[in-house]
Symmetry: C2
Subunit: 202 residues, 2 copies
């Protein structure tokens, strides 16, 4: 009943193992043999199914981006008010990153160090819709005037940084690593409250 009971086909085994290892150690810190060992297969199979370490990484990297964008995609263009939408967005993001705590660091770090390995991250049109919605809300005096990018920044920062900073917070504020999920949960409520207050009460 543990986690090693999934046989799967070889290709998926490799991809799953590669995802785990790449996310933990990054492209540069990961060797072909790391992946092979994690997947329990021969080193040559990685190049048999995917043609190179680089090609494999590109797939994982793209998947990770899709995972990030996809979850909020529908929500972003839903025809509901910002008063509803923003808390739902933040909840969805918190949910995603609590399940995959170092997705954020992976995306940010690898994007910084290997922008060439990031193929086609189509700027999702849903995001454009959301930014437009903010702009209109500003113009109609519904929310505090500011460039839409600031709202995006507020949401992303206050959700993702909780997970980015876990080691730092554990050390600096003497938080218990095992109860960090609780802290993150409290923080979600807090920042959602704070951002909503700031946007709507002015």
């Amino acid at each position: 009943m543990s986690e090693e009971t999934v046989p799967l086909n070889t290709e998926k085994r490799i991809k799953e193992a590669a995802r785990k290892v790449f996310m933990e150690k990054g492209f540069d810190g990961t060797t072909s043999r790391d992946i092979a060992e994690a997947a329990g297969i021969n080193v040559a199979l990685t190049n048999y199914y995917f043609r190179s370490k680089e090609k494999l990484f590109k797939m994982i990297f793209e998947d990770a981006h899709r995972e990030f964008f996809h979850e909020s995609h529908e929500l972003l263009q839903k025809p509901i008010s910002l008063r509803e939408k923003i808390p739902q967005l933040m909840a969805a993001d918190f949910n995603l990153f609590s399940k995959t705590p170092n997705l954020s660091l992976f995306l940010l770090a690898e994007r910084h160090r290997h922008p060439e390995l990031l193929a086609s991250v189509e700027q999702p049109s849903a995001l454009g819709f959301f930014l437009n919605q903010i702009q209109e809300a500003v113009e109609q005096g519904e929310i505090r005037p500011m460039a839409p990018a600031h709202v995006l920044q507020l949401i992303m920062a206050n959700v993702q940084f909780v997970y980015l900073s876990k080691p730092v917070m554990v050390q600096c504020a003497n938080l218990n690593p095992t109860t960090y999920a609780d802290f993150a949960g409290q923080h979600q409520q807090l920042v959602t409250d704070m951002i909503m207050n700031y946007l709507f009460n002015f």
Copy 2:
């Protein structure tokens, strides 16, 4: 008058080059020859002055932490009210990270991937003083009740993430990379305002 006019002694040349390369590419992405080339010296000199790539990295890594902590050290334990202190802290942090935009990513990423290369990051007592000050302010009803760690998280997140997310923001919100510093500056005012409002008006 450019930047290549600094002769310096060899040891400092290496350390400076190593800092630049390590901060950009991380420990795993940096080769001894990368450093040598950036410093304009022979490969062997890195091991002559510092005994290994690992030892050199440890120094750089520690220095980067000191840079981060030192700047706020005095401020943190200054006997002034939180109403003064928090905006000053955020301004100081913004100032630091605007001068070294990828310091944050470097610290977070390398700490995650190579915790063993982080020697003695003494949890600064100044931080303890600050957290105490917050706790007392909560007990006296001066600020909204919350665990002090949340305040720390709010400050760090909203300052650092602006620099962490530059590539993402540029792409997602169509920001101009060359004017990103302006955006960051506006955001500083915005988040300082937001956090102060949230803490003191409740």
